[in-house]
Amino acid sequence: MPPGDFRPAACPVCGLATGPAPACVECDWTLRTALRPGPVTTRLRADFETRLSTARRRYDARAAALVSADPGRLARWIRGGAPDHAEWAAALRDVAAATAGAVTEETARAALTAAMRGLADGAGLTIVEVGPEGIAVIQATTDRLGTPLLRTGPPAAPWTGLLPILSAQDDERLFQLAGGIAGLDRSLLAKHLAEVLPRGILPAGNGAETVVTCQPAGWRLLENAARQVAKGNAGATLMRVVGLPSEQNGLTGSLRARMPLLRGYAVVVATIAPATGAVTLGTRPLFRPGDTQGAESVLTFRRAPGDRGAATLAVTVADQPSSHIEADGSGLDVVSLHEVPLPREPVFRVRAVLDAPGRIRFTEPGGVIPLARPWPEVVAAIPRRVDVLPGPVDLVCALELAGSKEQVDRRRDLIGELLEDLADEYPEPGRLRVGLLGCTDHVFAPGEERKRVVRRHPLGDPAEAQFALAGFRGDSIRYADAAPLEDMLSLAQDMLADSSAQGRSARLLLVAGRRAHPRILGQDMVQPCPFGCDWSRLSRWLAKSAVSVVAVVDTMPGRTARNRFWADVGRAGLHALPDTSPREIAAHLGVGTRMGQRIGLPLPA
């Protein structure tokens, strides 16, 4: 300092070393004025002290306001004491000015997302994160599913290591980082920033695109450091972000969870070709690209006929065209696999929440758990082809009502359970129509023989048939050697006669304990049907008319008896009542899936 120059070595407000300029280049504090005549009065000295104190308070208040909106939090480090309302308001205005041009964290994440989306395959992005805790360098890439992969390297450097002159006390250090640096050796600080940062912070020559983030924007040391880093990396983009990071040191702390999806997600569904029954895989959109943490999606699916217990919810990336999905599922990039307990209803809803890219949580229905099996194993269990109906179906269930109560109940229960299952499988009105027939015995006595012994419920809603079935009461056996099954076949013929013309498949289930009456008296001397019904002719008509008939007999008859009636009528299946199940019957009737057939994936609703 030349003789007679009374300028201080450092600005009394901001601590910056003074230069030839009459005012501080940083805080504009007047360092030198023209000499004035007269003594320095007490008043003049007091005025000066007041101005200096005010200037210092304003300088420090700006830093405190950058750290916290609470004027009291960092007041102890504000020289000249706590600012008054006006001064704090001014400090907040200064903060606004200091952060001008900075973006919100959400905008910054979107920008990073865009940068990552634009990366070529295998390329990465270097993010230098200058934050309140230190400086971290993150290598960011995405996996093939679009999920961000963030690797910190080298390890993040804390400010206390980078700039040892900073306070070890957290709040004071934050105050200093934000600009409360008047008490520090500014020259030493500048030297550190200039020399230490470039050394050992950035990995040398990784060639990746670099984004330097400075958060919170406006913090003097952070801004200086970020600029230094950006300056040292050609092509680096500086991104200033308003406010303290929501997590950790900066954007990357929340990027993994909060980054918008780069690729949409979908749930894998099975579709069944109506004509051939071929099973193909498809998808139903679950989340769109850009969806972020907390996004919800609700999808409606249909339980595959025959599927019970649980199905697999496979979440895959959604931007794959269906043509790329191979039958073995190999074309699918599966994000996660879940096991959903299947409700009894055929149509069910799932609600999914996006917890993070790659992390989906199903909140509805309850009980969805991660699936332990790998995707290839899931796909391998999916049949290539299933039994399907060509269209809507008419089903007539005919049961013998004569016999012991237990036996009649068993027959009725089988049909009841079948109808219950089918009502679930065929929720669309009119797709399945069910009719009922129930017979008691012909009575071979004068005046009785030609009485109708078959009760009938017309084709209609399965639930109504189920209700009607309960009213089909049993009766005792009046003629032991045969039951009026031929009458029921005849009525079934009437009921199903128009099905084909209406584009409906026709099915008949016969549940009985005894064979039909013959048309004519035979060697076995079983009474012929009083109405002359010919089960053999009716059976041929049913077969010719493509009416699938499944017969269920109380006890499986011997081979001869089977060949005579049961096998002839029950061409689509002959079962013993104790050994069969509604599902097996449904499968043989062609109104349900084959036994053991399980798709295991939801169908589109």
Partner: protein, 349 residues
């Protein structure tokens, strides 16, 4: 001959007719159906009535059982003698002046005696237990020999029955072909009785070489049984009487013997084919005639005008394996053998 009201007086006690047959051959059912058959017969003057309360009650009870209850008569448990009078009109030759003969219609009455003994009495070896009727399981039986361990088969009863049979003028021999197919014992029952009758009528006969004097109506029963009917149909024996509005099948009398022989040949167990030849040997051939009969006849629905080939069985098996008569009974050739016997006896007087 005395005249009553300008007509020849009825020929009472023209003769006695005895009923003969193996167990379960349908004797009781035949008698029970006789009342119905008499009432259904075209001849207006045909009637039957008991000679005593026992016989009348038997007729009433069994007719009721057969028609109202649709049940077969119960088994014959003890020996009873029943007797009815069968009244009819028949034509007999009447000697006129100048030695001329002309046929005239006269009322005819004859006694029909049923020695309703258990069929075992007719066995060739007395007191040997009879076998069960094969047709029983199919419900075509009536008089079971339920008293196999009783006293009815005693020697005294047998002697009494044989004496009465031998003393009859006509015999109604009932033969169940279905039982023969299963048991094959018809000849056993037949020959023992035949020989005992022969012993009683032919021993000490002045003229050697003569035959038994009885008129014999041989009735093959259970024509309504599907197996019997089918054999008649398939063998070409079946015909339909054009005057029968119901067109129930029949086997014409002229084919009856041949059909009878065919039927008994079906049996692989017995020697029933000897029955026909024995009859020809022991009785005058022109005094033996065959009939194919059915006590309950074929089923005909009230809705249908006539016999239905597809549905003719007139019994129905009930739960518990009991059989019941299905509909109205239409006896076939039940009264005709008796009419023939009566006419034959009248003509012989």
């Amino acid at each position: 001959m005395t005249m009553t009201n300008g007509r020849p007086q009825g020929l009472r006690s023209l003769g006695r007719i005895g009923l003969w047959g193996a167990p379960s051959c349908g004797k009781t059912t035949y008698l029970a159906a006789l009342n119905v058959a008499v009432n259904q017969a075209a001849a207006q003057d045909l009637m039957i009535f008991g000679v005593d309360d026992l016989s009348t009650d038997f007729l009433v009870e069994n007719t009721t059982r057969l028609t109202r209850d649709r049940q077969f008569p119960p088994a014959t448990n003890s020996g009873n003698q029943y007797s009815w009078v069968l009244r009819m009109e028949t034509q007999v030759p009447e000697r006129r002046r100048f030695g001329r003969q002309a046929m005239t219609t006269v009322p005819l009455e004859m006694n029909l005696d049923l020695m309703d003994e258990p069929g075992r009495v007719f066995n060739d070896i007395p007191n040997e237990p009879s076998t069960g009727g094969g047709g029983r399981d199919l419900g075509f039986d009536d008089d079971d020999d339920a008293d196999a361990d009783g006293d009815a088969g005693s020697v005294a009863a047998e002697e009494s029955v044989m004496d009465r049979l031998a003393s009859c003028d006509g015999l109604l021999l009932l033969f169940d072909p279905t039982k023969e197919w299963t048991d094959g014992d018809a000849f056993n029952y037949f020959q023992g009785t035949l020989l005992r009758i022969a012993q009683r009528r032919m021993a000490g006969q002045a003229t050697p070489g003569g035959r038994l004097p009885h008129y014999v109506a041989v009735c093959a029963t259970k024509f309504d049984h599907p197996d019997v009917y089918r054999r008649a149909k398939n063998g070409g024996y079946r015909s339909f009487a054009m005057d029968d509005p119901s067109l129930f099948p029949r086997v014409p009398d002229e084919l009856a013997e041949k059909f009878f022989v065919d039927l008994v040949r079906q049996s692989e167990r017995g020697n029933a084919d000897l029955v026909a030849s024995a009859l020809r040997k022991y009785f005058e051939p022109d005094r033996v005639r065959f009939f194919i009969t059915s006590a309950i006849g074929f089923y005909k629905s009230r809705k249908s005008a006539r016999f239905q080939e597809a549905d003719f069985m007139n019994i129905v098996r009930q739960q518990g394996r009991d059989f019941q008569i299905r509909g109205a009974i239409h006896p076939i050739n039940v009264v005709e053998p008796l009419v023939w016997l009566g006419q034959s006896l009248a003509a012989a007087r």
